[in-house]
């Protein structure tokens, strides 16, 4: 039964990973940007949430209402300025600039907030309590909530992309940005919208992670970025629900690894990631091959 519990835990953590991954998938699918600072941006959102809560004393979940829009605006601005300039200069420059951004963010956080890890809402009953099914299965309410939020976000994204004007524009620009220009769309603006959405989701992921675990300046690159990318690659680029599938596979792999040997949780996840990367880089649900 311990194994069943492990698998359930793995599935639920998949929701958290999907929150990290969908923004990365969006930015890579639309703008062809691998944002190496993606994980760090989640951490920044978490730190902003901590700051907001400390200063204004709003309930923890309300910080989401403030932080997500702020991050979305930040995403639009960063895309229109830094990332667009990098894209105009080539893939190499984009990788270098986003890597530089990652290092700057991490060391900036280190400098101003020290290396101490912080949590969000650690005193809340939501965060600390769980319920049991039978004697071996224990499910944390928080994890269940995060999974539900992830599903809701994915549903929302799916609706946004398939039904709304900007969703259509984003898909069109991703297919052929020149043809979109000929139809009157400024692709730089559309990229900005996509980035705003991506940053918004990653902010949610960061806050969720801060509640589920702890945040420190290096969490972005130690865990979040690699988990996000693993979920995207395993699930398959171009598929939104693939990020959930990828997240679930990653989560389950990690939990199974932990069952074998408690310190092998991370390793198990990375090995599955590498295996997929080598054998089937287009992922489990593939719509297009990685370019």
């Amino acid at each position: 039964m311990a194994w069943v519990n492990a698998i359930i835990q793995g599935i639920l953590t998949g929701g958290l990973y999907a929150l990290f991954a969908c923004g990365l998938s969006l930015m890579f699918g639309v703008m062809k940007v691998v944002n190496l600072a993606h994980g760090d941006l989640a951490v920044v959102a978490g730190y902003i949430a901590i700051g907001v809560i400390t200063v204004t004393h709003v309930p923890v979940l309300w910080s989401v209402v403030i932080v997500v829009p702020v991050m979305a605006v930040l995403g639009y601005v960063l895309q229109r300025t830094l990332i667009q300039s990098s894209l105009d200069r080539g893939v190499l420059t984009t990788l270098i600039v986003t890597f530089g951004l990652s290092v700057v963010i991490e060391n900036g956080l280190l400098q101003f907030f020290t290396a101490n890890s912080r949590g969000i809402g650690a005193e809340m009953t939501l965060v600390t309590s769980s319920f049991k099914i039978g004697s071996q299965i224990e499910i944390a309410y928080l994890l269940l909530l995060i999974f539900a939020v992830a599903v809701a976000v994915l549903l929302g994204l799916q609706y946004f992309l398939s039904r709304s004007k900007y969703g259509r524009l984003i898909r069109a620009v991703a297919d052929d940005k020149e043809a979109a220009q000929l139809a009157g769309a400024d692709y730089r603006h559309v990229f900005g919208i996509a980035a705003a959405v991506a940053f918004g989701t990653v902010a949610l992921g960061g806050i969720a992670f801060g509640m589920y675990s702890d945040l420190d300046p290096t969490t972005g690159t130690d865990t979040i970025l690699l988990f996000a990318f693993a979920a995207v690659v395993i699930g398959g680029l171009g598929s939104l629900w693939g990020t959930l599938l990828g997240g679930v596979v990653l989560g389950v792999a990690q939990q199974i690894g932990a069952q074998i040997n408690i310190s092998d949780e991370l390793l198990a996840g990375f090995i599955v990631f590498l295996v997929v990367l080598v054998l089937r880089p287009q992922g489990l649900i593939s719509r297009r091959a990685p370019s």
């Binding site: 270098i96 890597f99 280190l110 693993a230 390793l267």
Partner: protein
């Protein structure tokens, strides 16, 4: 080498193909003098200075390797710390079995190069962003695997044996010379490599990969060679690191910070030129030494400067110098000059 060409107007002109615009003999002599002077340092400067220089040698070596990968082969690796760590651990393992760490150094370098082969097989088909992330995951995975072996220190690392009873002054001197030799060999090796066929293939790929492949260039082989050489270089640097630190800790030798250092130093100095990493390392060391007491600031500034250079001054500091003065200390290209028939 000279060639006769038929111009559109029908006249015949002669050109000769040379390696550089100016006579490079004096640069070679200059480089030799610099190396000899550096070799005498342990006799003339304090050990604090040699320690800083050893650090500089390590950074210069790994930066040159990163430059080879990204600037010449177009491979942006965010996981070279894997080889730095492997080099350090090779030395540790051999030292635990009784071999002198200095003797272990070349073996560690070669071992890292050999390790690069299966790793290349894993990532070779991946492009840009995927390649970068894959190298990062590989480095993280290798670190996690090594941490499982308590016999070599597990997660907390262990001190490097093999130096007990050694005269400390002698140790610092030997460490210094090891670092100097590694750096000189690395730079010389890269220079010779790029001067030959490999350099031509890589430049062709840089300009137009499809054309390069279709004209028969063994692009895959060229990239493999570059990856292995970078593995050897970073492994050697890792070995020197282990020797200079007298201990090997996984979180230190496998840290992503190595990639930050080698990438930033290369970019600021000038990506795609051999001279670039040299200048970049100087900038890096200066910043590090002056801002050391301010902890994370030097990395923040370094990162910001690197980003600015990548966006606005793509050819880096050396690029600015090169454009003005047109010197190449390490000429690896070709120049076409008008000249007499049958010229040198």
């Amino acid at each position: 080498m000279s060639l006769a060409t038929q111009t559109a107007a029908g006249r015949t002109e002669n050109f000769r193909v040379t390696r550089s615009r100016r006579n490079v003999v004096w640069t070679g002599a200059g480089a030799l003098i610099v190396v000899v002077v550096l070799a005498f340092f342990p006799y003339i400067v304090y050990s604090g200075t040699t320690a800083i220089l050893v650090q500089a040698f390590i950074v210069l070596t790994v930066a040159s390797m990163w430059n080879l990968l990204a600037g010449y082969a177009g491979l942006v690796s965010v996981g070279q710390q894997a080889f730095v760590g492997l080099g350090a651990y090779f030395v540790l393992i051999l030292a635990l079995h009784g071999l002198s760490p200095f003797a272990a150094l070349p073996i560690a370098a070669i071992g890292s190069g050999v390790a690069a082969l299966p790793l290349w097989w894993l990532v070779s088909r991946l492009r840009s962003g995927y390649f970068a992330i894959a190298t990062w995951v590989l480095a993280a995975t290798i670190m996690l695997i090594i941490e499982k072996f308590t016999s070599i220190g597990g997660g907390s690392g262990m001190p490097l044996p093999g130096f007990t009873g050694m005269n400390p002054t002698l140790l610092t001197a030997y460490t210094y010379w090891a670092g100097l030799i590694v750096t000189v060999l690395a730079l010389a090796g890269i220079y010779l490599l790029l001067r030959g066929r490999l350099g031509l293939v890589l430049t062709a790929v840089r300009d137009d990969e499809v054309a390069a492949r279709s004209s028969g260039s063994r692009v895959g082989l060229a990239r493999l060679l570059v990856f292995v050489v970078a593995g050897v270089g970073c492994g050697a640097a890792g070995a020197v690191l282990a020797i200079s630190q007298l201990q090997v800790q996984p979180s230190a030798v496998f840290s992503i910070q190595w990639t930050a250092e080698m990438a930033f130093a290369t970019i600021i100095g000038g990506l795609g030129t051999i001279e670039g990493p040299i200048i970049g390392t100087v900038v890096y060391m200066v910043l590090q030494q002056t801002l050391q007491s301010y902890n994370a600031w030097y990395l923040i500034i370094l990162g910001l400067v690197a980003m600015a250079v990548a966006l606005f001054a793509r050819r880096g500091l050396w690029g600015l110098v090169d454009e003005r003065l047109n010197i190449r200390l390490f000429p690896v290209g070709y120049w076409l000059r008008p000249g007499k028939q049958g010229g040198p």
